[in-house]
């Protein structure tokens, strides 16, 4: 039984088959990357895993149990994600964004909160201590109390990663973590992904275009084209696979 597996996953939007019978499995503790040209169905797979839309066929298994229900059930199972185009809570501070990530570890109920009993105060302090570890890891202390709405793109990308980590996930899905980042920031990102894997012991499933980053951090790579798996293996194996070369560069006559 693998840690996380997708079996024969497929989705069809009208006449378009976006994902067609994709199967793969991720072992605990590895960094598994999905690559592929634009429109290959990478983000769609993430949205299917997140139950944002229902698959037409196939199933998703996490720790031996099927993932199903609504999107919030996925988070409660310990799967966190980031978004390609950043979906932060704009009009809240960085701290509040990270605390929202702690939602699944909430210990208080509505009645206690309305009265702000001492138990709520203790819980709030405990949540802040947990969030502080993420702030520390990602060097966000400087932005702790700033509103997200005024922060630069690179910082938002890091906050999104932080928010996913604040949920204390077992598996984190990163949707193009380096898109829109400059080379220095991409380097930091690679460093953090290594940290997440090695120090926090979190399994990473990511979609990424930057092959330098992919080669540096990934244990295994899956290549997709037009919704189908075309290759799987180590980064070097996949990069030199004829089907992958053809998908990116076009086939020879």
């Amino acid at each position: 039984m693998s840690f996380f597996a997708v079996e024969n996953l497929g989705v069809r939007f009208g006449g378009v088959v976006a994902v067609d019978g994709v199967s793969f499995s991720v072992e605990q503790g590895e960094v598994y990357t999905i690559i592929g040209p634009n429109g290959a169905g990478k983000t769609t797979i993430f949205n299917l895993i997140g139950l944002i839309y229902p698959p037409t066929s196939g199933r998703i298994l996490f720790e031996g149990e099927e993932v199903r229900g609504a999107p919030h059930h996925v988070a409660q199972r310990g799967i966190a994600r980031t978004f390609q185009n950043i979906e932060l809570f704009e009009h809240a501070t960085v701290l509040q964004n990270l605390l929202i990530g702690r939602h699944r570890h909430r210990t208080t109920n509505l009645a206690e909160e309305l009265l702000f009993l001492p138990s709520v105060r203790r819980a709030e302090i405990a949540q802040r201590e947990a969030v502080e570890r993420v702030i520390d890891l990602l060097d966000l202390a400087h932005y702790r109390d700033s509103l997200v709405a005024g922060l630069p793109y690179g910082v938002r990308k890091v906050i999104e990663l932080g928010r996913a980590l604040a949920t204390e996930p077992k598996l984190v899905l990163l949707d193009e973590p380096s898109s829109g980042l400059n080379p220095d920031e991409t380097d930091d990102m690679a460093f953090w992904i290594e940290d997440i894997q090695k120090e926090l012991g979190i399994t990473v499933l990511m979609v990424e275009h930057d092959m330098n980053l992919v080669s540096r951090v990934s244990d295994r790579v899956l290549a997709l084209n037009e919704g189908r798996v075309i290759a799987e293996g180590t980064p070097t194996q996949v990069q030199s696979h004829p089907a992958v070369v053809e998908a990116y560069l076009g086939g020879g006559e």
Partner: protein, 357 residues
């Protein structure tokens, strides 16, 4: 300029961030407590109205300003609260029971109205809640055996534990106490996980659900809490006016409540109170201004026109409302002479994920 150096997590959580706040809110508290001895009966009556509308405004602020759900039907919750209070008082129930029932019944109706809200957004939700307002108004008018229809209902003075609140002062203190209570409850809510879940839903539903927030549950809860506060406001309103009838709970009333939230400043509790004060004082301002206007301008129509113009002006020029304006003024003096016009300019929002649903 004040810098707050945080050395303790409690500093994030506590009610007052620094001594200055303790002083100014303390002063406000003292002035409000002393108001019956300082101001005329007319001003006291306006203060009662401001308190009542603040409670309602706070309720709507929770829903619209913090959860991002628009409602054009809040006058209906006001009506549910007001009629529950009137009927239970007539049935001889003590005030504590009737007020609690008004809140609970409104909350229950809020949950029912909240159910379509799980599927509707933006303008569609506005239309649905608007329809709900019309339905409730119609029910009140037609169900004459219960509500008295267009002839309305009369209310007596409140009696709490045998103590009759017939004087304006005592009723004022009751309104003030409930307003302070409402503010405290909302502050508590907003500094705990539930409040953060509301804000998350407002800013990005997709992202909120991916963080483990059950959208259906929290949206319904927001509707219920908002309706409960509005119901309490309705009960007090019924006592303040002394007579309730269907034409007090029309769409125009609902729009007035939305105006409180927008003029006050969406997304701030201060805004709800400032907006309520503004709405109550505006007719007074208009009637003063009328003395300088030609006789051909009718006072009845003038009020709606001025209301509309002010609303439009706020949306265009000051989307953060009165509270936003106050923040700008305060920052100006805080950082004098270094204030720059760009400080509060809206930042470019980066491209967001294509809306997934």
């Amino acid at each position: 300029m004040r810098f707050i150096f945080k050395t303790d997590y409690d500093q994030d959580i506590r009610l007052f961030q620094h001594g200055g706040q303790v002083f100014w809110y303390g002063l406000l508290g003292v002035l409000l407590l002393a108001a019956p001895y300082l101001v005329s009966g007319y001003v006291l009556s306006q203060l009662q109205f401001i308190c009542i509308y603040s409670i309602v405004g706070l309720g709507l602020m929770l829903l619209t300003g913090y959860t991002g759900q628009i409602s054009l039907g809040h006058a209906a919750f006001l009506a549910v609260g007001a009629y529950t209070e009137a009927l239970l008082q007539a049935a001889g129930m003590p005030f504590v029971v009737s007020l609690t029932s008004a809140a609970l019944l409104s909350a229950a109706v809020g949950i029912i109205v909240g159910l379509p809200a799980l599927r509707l957004k933006g303008i569609y939700l506005a239309i649905a809640t608007f329809a709900f307002n019309v339905i409730v108004e119609e029910i009140i008018t037609r169900w004459e055996s219960l509500t008295g229809g267009n002839s309305g209902k009369l209310l007596k003075a409140i009696e709490i534990f045998g103590f009759r609140l017939s004087s304006p002062e005592s009723f004022y203190y009751l309104c003030l106490a409930l307003t302070v209570l409402a503010v405290l409850v909302l502050i508590n809510l907003l500094r705990s996980p539930t409040g953060r879940a509301f804000v998350a839903i407002r800013d990005s539903e997709v992202s909120a659900s991916c963080m483990g927030i059950n959208l259906a549950y929290y949206k319904t809860m927001s509707f219920a809490l908002s309706a409960a506060l509005t119901g309490v406001g309705g009960a007090l309103y019924a006592h303040k006016v002394g007579f309730i009838s269907p034409e007090q709970f029309t769409l125009v009333q609902s729009i007035e409540l939305v105006t409180i939230v927008i003029i006050g400043g969406v997304g701030s509790l201060h805004g709800a109170v400032l907006g309520a004060a503004f709405i109550i004082m505006l007719p007074q301002g208009i009637s003063i201004a009328k003395d300088w206007l030609p006789d051909s301008v009718s006072p009845a129509g003038l009020q709606s026109v001025v209301f509309g113009l002010i609303l439009i002006a706020f949306i265009i020029f000051e989307p953060y409302g009165l509270y936003g304006r106050w923040l700008k003024i305060r920052t100006y003096f805080d950082v004098f002479p270094f204030y720059r016009r760009g400080t509060f300019r809206r930042q470019r929002t980066y491209l967001r994920s294509e809306r997934l649903r």
